[in-house]
């Protein structure tokens, strides 16, 4: 269970601070809904530990995550763009999710290869992100998130701006993950995304 | 493979240290031109090591001044048993540190232009400062210091800075010896002819003089000996000045804290023997400190023979150097 309790945050020049509060169970997807500037990305950054809240807490399975650094939080983020290291190959980008020092076993390599095939990128392992389209890059990012096998996924507009085929494919992937027990926090403008994926909605 | 290499290294080190224990080592602080491969250092080392069950270990410092500085820093814990390469400009200051011991060497064999009875320092070679000129550029060099000073400013000379160089200091003393209190005025007259004042003799000789930048450079009266004997050219000669030439004597001394005093003393005695002295003329390009007789290379007969050796007592130099130097600076920057 992920519980966000009275999480308060304000940027230095911001008058009215945000206050976030919701909870989600594993295998569920919560959609964060709000106009741009309503704090969706800020919330994602707070959950991931890229920002420090002023007060409140984040609990996972009853334990506080608030003072843990990003690398000790059981989640993986996907943003609208800039999800990949531009100088590393697709394989390496995914591999770093499996082992942060790229010490990959034969099985890991095989899993990456199969994963790439499953998202329609078979044989793209050696390319660098600069050679891929936006949709292909998002597929790589999502594949890394899946193979990293963390209990939570933080998705910040992950499908925005992609063609409809890719969107369908990625939605399908996310549904599968949800069925396998992943908890998804999804920030999205898109009504269809919410209808297909979300179990509950948090309005900001 | 790695282990084998390591074992080998270890064995070598052990062998070296075992070896080092057996024979005593004489550590000598000296300067680069003495210890160079073609300098007198290696030959002298071989010759001395044959007479004793010992090993000579040269530590090469940049100049006589550096030897003194190192000695001062190390004080009583110095590794040096002997210092070789101080000269009349630095020896008095070194004596005042109280870090040197007196010697027992018999100085009667010395063949210097001045009488030498120093309890601490033993000379091993000597020479005169002189202006070396390029005969192709300057067929008729000035015949005296006075003539040089009176020469038109179109005659360019290269000198070294007395603050950083031994010959540079030599010229300062030379002028002082010849002109006394008039020296600063004479320097002012000379100023227009000085192309530049280099940090060291090497800078001037290599970068400027041998590039033909000026026809005359402050050097040693023995410099032409090398050019004649080794380069086989008479092109570069020293100009003989009527007033006489300033003398430089290079010396060695024992270090008080040495635990090899006997060996050091033996080396000082050896220093005045022919086995040491014969390497001086062409390898150090200076006059030997003792009479070598026929062994003195023939080219040395072709060198200038100054009428008078000008020389200040080292104590006098130490006491007045700072003031003379400030006067020089004043004269040259006014």
């Amino acid at each position: 269970m992920l519980e966000v309790k009275n999480l308060v945050f304000a940027y230095p020049d911001q008058k009215a601070p945000w206050n976030f509060q919701f909870s989600v169970a594993p295998g569920q997807c919560i959609a964060i809904h709000g106009a741009s500037g309503s704090g969706k990305s800020t919330l994602m950054n707070l959950l991931a530990g890229f920002l420090e809240p002023q007060s409140g807490d984040i609990l996972w399975q009853g334990k506080s995550l608030r003072h843990r650094p990003p690398w000790h939080r059981p989640m993986t983020s996907v943003f609208q763009e800039h999800n990949l290291f531009e100088h590393l190959s697709v394989e390496a980008n995914i591999g770093l999710g499996i082992h942060p020092g790229l010490k990959l076993t034969q099985e890991d390599q095989l899993a990456i290869e199969r994963g790439l095939q499953s998202v329609g990128l078979g044989g793209f392992g050696k390319r660098i992100p600069g050679d891929l389209s936006g949709g292909q890059r998002q597929r790589v990012a999502l594949l890394r998130t899946i193979l990293r096998q963390q209990p939570m996924m933080l998705l910040d507009e992950p499908l925005t701006g992609l063609d409809s085929d890719t969107r369908d494919l990625l939605r399908q992937l996310l549904l599968e993950q949800k069925a396998l027990g992943s908890l998804i926090v999804l920030a999205s403008h898109d009504d269809e995304d919410r209808q297909v994926l979300a179990d509950s909605i948090c309005r900001l | 493979m790695l282990i084998r290499a390591f074992t080998l290294l270890l064995l070598t080190l052990l062998a070296v240290s075992a070896n080092a224990e057996k024979v005593s080592t004489l550590t000598i602080y000296t300067h680069p031109s003495f210890a160079a491969e073609w300098g007198p250092g290696p030959a002298v080392k071989d010759a001395f090591e044959q007479t004793c069950n010992c090993q000579i270990n040269y530590v090469v410092l940049d100049s006589g001044g550096d030897i003194l500085q190192r000695l001062r820093l190390e004080g009583k814990s110095s590794e040096a048993d002997l210092v070789l390469g101080l000269d009349t400009g630095t020896m008095e200051t070194t004596r005042q540190t109280g870090l040197l011991a007196s010697h027992k060497t018999d100085l009667s064999a010395l063949n210097l232009p001045v009488d030498w009875q120093d309890p601490v320092f033993v000379p091993y070679d000597w020479g005169y400062f002189a202006f070396v000129y390029d005969t192709e550029q300057l067929p008729e060099p000035p015949k005296s210091l006075e003539a040089l000073i009176a020469a038109p400013d179109s005659l360019k000379i290269i000198i070294q800075d007395p603050r950083t160089s031994t010959p540079g200091l030599g010229l300062l003393l030379w002028m002082r010896q010849v002109y006394g209190d008039q020296a600063p005025e004479k320097w002012q007259q000379l100023k227009g002819k000085i192309l530049t004042t280099t940090k060291s003799w090497s800078d001037g000789y290599f970068s400027l003089f041998m590039n033909g930048e000026a026809p005359m450079i402050l050097s040693y009266s023995t410099s032409p000996a090398y050019h004649m004997a080794v380069d086989k050219t008479d092109r570069y000669q020293a100009a003989e000045f009527e007033e006489g030439h300033y003398l430089q004597v290079e010396v060695a001394a024992l270090v008080k804290s040495s635990d090899q005093k006997e060996l050091g003393q033996a080396f000082l005695d050896f220093m005045l023997s022919a086995d040491f002295q014969r390497h001086i003329p062409l390898k150090n390009v200076m006059y030997p400190a003792t009479d070598l007789g026929d062994e003195l290379p023939a080219v040395f007969d072709k060198l200038i023979q100054p009428a008078e050796a000008l020389y200040f007592d080292p104590k006098m130099v130490t006491d007045n150097r700072r003031q003379w130097l400030n006067e020089w600076l004043d004269a040259m920057t006014r």
């Binding site: 991931a48 530990g49 650094p69 990003p70 690398w71 000790h72 939080r73 989640m75 983020s77 943003f79 800039h82 290291f85 100088h87 590393l88 190959s89 394989e91 591999g95 770093l96 082992h99 942060p100 020092g101 050696k126 390319r127 660098i128 050679d131 | 602080y29 680069p32 031109s33 160079a36 270990n57 040269y58 530590v59 090469v60 410092l61 940049d62 190192r70 820093l73 590794e79 800075d161 603050r163 000085i194 004042t197 280099t198 940090k199 090497s202 800078d203 001037g204 000789y205 290599f206 970068s207 400027l208 590039n211 930048e213 000026a214 380069d231 390898k283 390009v285 020089w328 040259m332 920057t333």
Partner: protein, 559 residues
Amino acid sequence: MNLQPSAPFSRPGWRLWPGLAIAGALVVLAMAGLGALVWEASLPDMNELWRSRYLRTVVAFTVWQAFLSVVLSLLVAIPVARILARQSGFPGRVVLLRLMELSLVLPSIVAVSGLVSVYGRQGWLTGFANDWLGASWNLYGINGIVLAHVFFNAPLAARILLQAIESAPTSQLRIAAQLGLGRWWYWRAVEWPAVKPIMPGLAALVFTLCFTSFAIVMTLGGGPAATTIEVAIYQSLRFEFDAGQAALLAMVQLAICGFLWWLAARDGLTASLLPDRQVASHRSKAGSSFWARSGDAAALGLFVLFLVTPLIAILLRGLPGIGSAFFPEGSFSVNPALLDATLRSLAIALPAGLMSVSASLLILACGTAASQPAITRLTNVAAYLPLMVPPLVLGTGLFLLFRPNLGNSSEGLILVTLINAMMALPFVLQMLRGPMGNLDSASRQQADQLGVLGWYRWRWLHWPRMRRPLALAMAYGTGLSLGDFGVIALFGSLGQPTLPVLLYQQLGSYRIDAAAATGLWLVLLLLMLFSLFNRLGSPLFNAGLASKSSRTVPEPEHA
């Protein structure tokens, strides 16, 4: 619940402490040197300094010549860098860049000999000027000093500025190209913003180098009117044995240069000399017309002439002796002395280069890890101490710290290596600062979340993008040590010379031709070294990295 396999050296302390320790050691060293002098003799009254006309003149002259040298170096470097950025495809460009890298690391006596052959009284150019232009030119004096300083520093500055211009953001270049900006506006809109952040650091570096210049100032200065503080310190220590005055002068030097670095550091000294942003493929159209290209060619030709003629002079002077330097007296075996000296030099220079590069990385890591800006600034300025503290003072400090082990053969050589690494640190640091600090925030966050920390972050995020700057930094670090004479002379050696020491020994024994040949050999060796490192850093040579990624990010086109 530790979810990630944790990376080696990933605790924050690993980023902070090693660099801080190195910076601290540098400060301790400088202080030990100064302290030793003060301890030996009490510090004279500061007022005495201002009362002495001589010392006042020295300080004023030092500042003045350094100021002139900086201004002129940058005035030469900026147009050269702009032209080289515009004209990216002419033949010989790569060679020219190598030669530009060379000028800084040349031993000064070799470089001065070359300069004198061109600009001296009997020089080629002087003859030409007198015969054809009727102009009289005198090398000796402030013009000679500034000329030599420009020769040493302008190519370095141009080299670094070029890298900055070439890494201007793509978006700006695209807009500039669309608008068809003229040269002036192109400079305002694209080039100046690219070089602006590195200007303070670059100017401070060149200033410090000229400020502490010694032998060149004396050889070309014409007389004692041209005396820098460094000369006065040497005089006080070696000649007058006045440790107090030496310490006072060293402090003045430290204060002036340190203040400048502090200023440069204030403008977020992350003002690096080598920024690394996305590299542009667009080039200005401004350089493409016939007249523009002819103008560029003429200006660049002048610069090439300025840079290359002294090198040719060194070549011509060294050639007659080089045969007998390698094969003495017609024997067919290579001269062991020269070979040994070469190997010995490399044995010192390569580890020294490696050490200075590693130390720079640690210092930079510390600068980004420290939470207080004051720590960042302190470590930054400390790294430049080796340039500001006179070598004699530094040597004294070291001597006192390592007293029992000095003068001893193997320890001595290790120490020489260490000091050489230290002396190269300021240059190496400037080359690496930009690339090291340029991880964008998106990458940083990703890396944090994935646990790519410590060693892993270095291995996978920094290293692949820093190969070229590292190679250049390594080349400079090694080259500076290879051409070094000062450090080894300071500590003494066991009669086994390195190449520069061999050169000075030959000079000291009238072996002029041999010395010229050794000088030439040293220059050739440096050239080979720079080419080698540039090859290692080029994208073509990426065998080491290619195991996981077949292609890396596109890199600047220049070599």
